[in-house]
Subunit: 244 residues, 2 copies
């Protein structure tokens, strides 16, 4: 079996959001990410790999390709051994899952930030991330890459934040927003169950959204930067929440 023109066309189309949405498929690249994928419950449609790739998959359809062919399919500057064609999961918000802490991301636009936040969640054992409908999609290749395989373990759901918040509150979770004018993170008494809300890179959280939140917290600053990167702020708050 070798690489056909229609394979190339399909995979290259998945570099674009439009076709990812249409086909409900996405691509995963590189040894590390594909190995994590193989241990997940995602459905792999096909693998394209160079002879260098150490095959750890059984009954999955595969096509061996040259490094030049792989580069043609790749979204990376330097293609890395293997590329998987994968079925998307349904990411529609249905119901809030009760946990010690979950994340809600409001209009996050940078796929690298989203992937990094998913990796943070996975490090701290946070299982659920809720996203506003205008947030960047989790199946964006840059997000998949930045998550370093954590995407396959963290449940990501998109919905109207009003619904997510009210569902969280019904589940006795406090809706806590990270802002620049909240209670000092280290003086704040953490609730038993929290939905931590992080705002967009450029606009943070609007007054309307903040009105729906129960409380606001802030990471104290000792310097002059106007703000922290959203993934950094998420990491710092999650670390403080999880340490006990």
């Amino acid at each position: 079996m070798s690489l056909s023109k229609s394979d190339i066309k399909l995979i290259k189309s998945l570099h674009q959001k439009k076709f990812r949405n249409e086909y409900r498929q996405f691509i995963v690249e590189g040894e590390k990410c594909v190995n994590e994928l193989l241990h997940s419950d995602y459905e792999i449609i096909h693998l394209y790999h160079t002879h260098e790739w150490e095959n750890k998959s059984n009954n999955i359809q595969k096509t061996p390709v040259s490094i030049n062919e792989l580069q043609r399919l790749s979204t990376l500057n330097t293609a890395n051994k293997v590329l998987a064609l994968v079925k998307q999961k349904d990411t529609t918000f249905i119901k809030y899952v009760d946990e010690k802490i979950s994340l809600c991301l409001y209009d996050i636009k940078d796929p690298g930030n989203l992937g990094t936040i998913i990796r943070v969640a996975d490090w701290f054992g946070i299982k659920n991330i809720y996203l506003s409908e205008n947030s960047v999609e989790v199946y964006n290749p840059k997000c998949v890459q930045a998550s370093m395989g954590s995407l396959f373990r963290v449940n990501c759901r998109y919905g109207a934040v009003e619904n997510i918040f009210s569902d969280a509150k019904k589940n006795q979770s406090k809706v806590v927003a990270a802002t620049l004018e909240g209670i000092n993170l280290y003086q704040y008494r953490k609730p038993e169950k929290t939905l931590l809300v992080m705002g967009s890179e450029s606009h943070g959280l609007s007054p309307d959204i903040l009105n729906l939140c129960d409380e606001q917290i802030t990471i104290p600053s000792y310097g002059q930067a106007e703000s922290l990167n959203v993934a950094i702020a998420t990491g710092i708050i999650c670390a403080e929440w999880m340490k006990g």
Copy 2:
């Protein structure tokens, strides 16, 4: 005064490391970053701006340009009102400056990570970052962009880590490495003065480097991700160090 071919050639050459090194100049883009630059002690050689830009500079040479001209000069997908041509500062490590906490970055390769770490340092009032000689350069446009202007307030110096470590120790600083097998960050008794060492994205810190460090600390994990992004880890540790 209008945009000349030689202006375009010079500025486009500064998209590349080779010419940044040769000319000892770099570019700063966008309203936010240029405004921070104007408040810094960096020497601005020239400003290129569209009519939209609200001029806050006095005796600096400027050229008004069209948005299309600005886009030709830009490293961004969407050029943003203004671009500055700036003199680099000398970034050679000379001596260790005594502070409560400083950062040492070992072979960091991703300019976005470096810029984000500089922003973290600035948020927490950390004044000095030392970098191994093989680390990415601070004047890389992606680093400048990710630092969101913090680059102009944080002192970055490149040198041999052996020299940086020994100089830090002479100044009674403990050299503390962030690794995956150190003391739990929250159980660790923080020294009075610390040089915090962060390893590269792909290889962390080599045994040789670790041998030169006094201690190792780790951010406790509660999930399954193999590691945290280096900028996230830096943020979490700095937050814990600074909170008192």
